[in-house]
Subunit: 259 residues, 4 copies
């Protein structure tokens, strides 16, 4: 079926009878046991092997985003597992499908917003970041837009993930312009909004991923990868100690039918 | 809305205004920067923190399963991204939905098969494993069933992942009964089947995960987690260097319409 | 890119600059306005145009299966819409993914079970159906299997859909061996099980679809098509009068965290 | 588990031991055999029973959108079925997940665009529609936006579905302002764009659905419902006469690995 005219190029992987190649490496000889899973995920998306410092920041982000308890996505995955327990992939997929604009989108939205503000040039010092942040927040407010990543429904004063992630990025020399701009937004926004909001941890994750050079159009993908681990945890717990049936019955028994 | 009568128990996570708790830990203080992503995924499913040796074997499995080039699932994810590029979660979910019995099922099928054979007791030595393996292969053949994990469509003599994973499990003291039984199957099956088949690397992964004490009913979940990283790699490449449109046009232009 | 060696045959559809062909017909001239949607769905799967009587029974089945209130699948779809309202296809897909063995599987399971029992021959009269039914129920009980379609968690005495669907099939001359065998199971099972269970309406739907000559391996597909309409109804209502956030908060606020 | 404080209102459906209620009707007594499947789908979303004329236009739209041959979504569904044939719901969901902005979005995009243009008032006659259309196309061009529904990649002169659907809407007295505005766009756009493009049939479907009073934010849902039938046709054909493996092998064997 091979055909001179057909070409499907890829730099990801291929295999023949004796070897599996992945990202230009011999999977068995060069990667297995030598490369961590987070490191490989980064490499797969970025197309280059990350440094140990980049891996540390990256895995910190994945850990930060992996789970947040009974989110709508976790509940949807458990209900799907209840209905179709033979199809674990379906339950996982159902959970990931909630990874859209509202409950899992802030990571990508924040990274993309910051990258847009930085498109015309990166300030040289904190004063420059503050000025740029002030202009960006002012413009967002004038357009009646939210600044992505500002505020959190539960952590109303401070998101506990925020200072830890900034510190780790700093330790690894990876506190770049996106994080610095987001921190500046944290400093200046009260002047414009007349109230003080915390920097959302999921937003900080987006800033950190953008500083790692990962494509801002795909940042949601890392939130999804992290959440895949969290959803597997929920599905394993649902198998041991289910709540799906009780969720369903709670809704069904309290349904109010309005003819 | 809180109600004395409603209780949805979980040991995964919760949060309040100042803290996020995950698996009994303080996410920001105890996990971020201190626990790897693979380690956390293991912990989430097993409900206990793995040892460093367990993490090494586990991440080796995830790396081994992450990608295998242009599989049907990778192509499905790329075609979905072509049609709905605004919904990365949909493209990822579409790819994972192929993680069923045929192309991604061997990991779980093999682990489950081995666990079933071991249910009545674990042999003491290699001779005992060989005898148990011989009985299991003979029984499978008599019932006209395949032995899951035996044979590979591409790696007809040896799957390059197999010896590496067994060696790493051995190094970490984690070459347990499932791996030993699978190796015994590799030794004895030619007596029954009259031909020599390789031990499939994805099947060895299932044996290794079962030896890690992970629930055999959920082994598919780890293949899905690994594949989520591979699919993100494909979607990132599809964004940079797309093939989805060419796949579609190749099929459409060579369609033969049979009225 | 056309290639002599590549051939992807299909009898479904194709199009060129001036015409769209579907199922051997001119879509615009022969189908639009002349064929109903249910009729087309039947034709697409069966590969032949159904008779008006077949369409009536088929649409009755779709109507019977379209919705059942706050099922786990409807709740999962609403929670996914809450999280990702920009991706209606994701919410619909999440709902359909629950269409597996437990909550939506009885239609296919029942049709398949009946077809299996009938594989060795179709009885000539009710006495023959009763004898065959008695043997089948006795065998299922001996193997500790449930008879698919027998019993209903809510309609403990009679499922109101059952007599209506049987009557309509009878009116259209389409009460065939699968329905007759299922009715016989309804008559004889108390002798074996020592209690009287109703014939589940979703199971009767499976019997009716099998009598229509539709492939028993795909009966779940019709339940999914019917449910797609119901899920769109739920999503439209969720948009007008949402409950997803309340479901989420009910679960989250009544979470009991077990460290 | 019932609780005074919990209320989940719905007007869709409920059931008790003897009755299933759907949309305020007795499902078995009032709907089964008396209401068509398309009619029920309309009713579920609109919350009101459609007239026979509305049903005819609605089903014509569903028939027009049900299938278009080997689209990316149909190929993705077939590849997913190849990988996980035991999970029909997964294959169907994978196909629907491509129902996003590019290949299935034009119906909703067009309806929404027309509704936006009409938001400030509906013209009284064709001259008024032409003037409004001219302003809208001029504005879209100035903003460098496409007019949704104008043009088709295959039907470069005329989409055969377009005149048929307009005629049927006219016959049923349902050729309303959205269709009339879209027709006016067809008349006036060459003055602005300097070339003549056809009115896309999927776009006309969006105009017709909007004229039926269906919510423009959910028009994509009807395209998805229609496509669900088409995808079931593809999956039934894939079961009888598969092409998925050949698609996979065509891509895999023509992969060009770029280290």
């Amino acid at each position: 079926m091979a055909d001179e005219g057909l070409r499907f190029p890829t730099a990801i992987g291929t295999s023949d009878e004796t070897q599996i190649r992945l990202l230009g490496q011999d999977l068995a000889a060069d990667l297995m046991g030598k490369v961590g899973f987070g490191e490989l995920a980064y490499w797969l998306v970025a197309g280059r092997r990350p440094t140990p410092g980049e891996v540390r920041v990256f895995e910190t982000v994945l850990v930060a985003l992996a789970d947040h308890g009974f989110t709508p996505t976790a509940i949807a995955a458990r209900l799907t597992y209840l209905s179709a327990p033979e199809s674990l992939q379906g339950a996982l997929a159902a959970g990931l499908l909630g990874g859209g604009s509202r409950f899992l989108g802030v990571t990508e939205d924040c990274g993309r917003f910051l990258a847009g503000v930085l498109a015309d040039g990166v300030p040289e010092d904190d004063a420059g970041f503050d000025a740029l942040a002030l202009a960006a927040v002012t413009e967002a407010r004038a357009a009646k837009n939210f600044v992505p990543g500002l505020g959190h429904p539960v952590h109303k004063k401070q998101d506990p993930r925020t200072p830890v992630l900034i510190r780790i990025a700093e330790e690894e020399g990876l506190r770049g312009p996106h994080l610095r701009l987001f921190e500046a937004i944290g400093r200046v926004h009260p002047q414009v909004l007349n109230r003080t909001l915390p920097l959302n941890g999921a937003g900080v994750c987006g800033a950190a991923l953008a500083d790692l050079g990962l494509p801002v159009d795909l940042l949601r993908g890392f939130a999804l990868l992290a959440r895949a681990a969290g959803l597997l945890g929920h599905l394993a717990e649902e198998r041991r100690n289910p709540i799906g049936m009780d969720v369903y019955l709670t809704v069904d028994r309290n349904a109010v039918y309005e003819d």
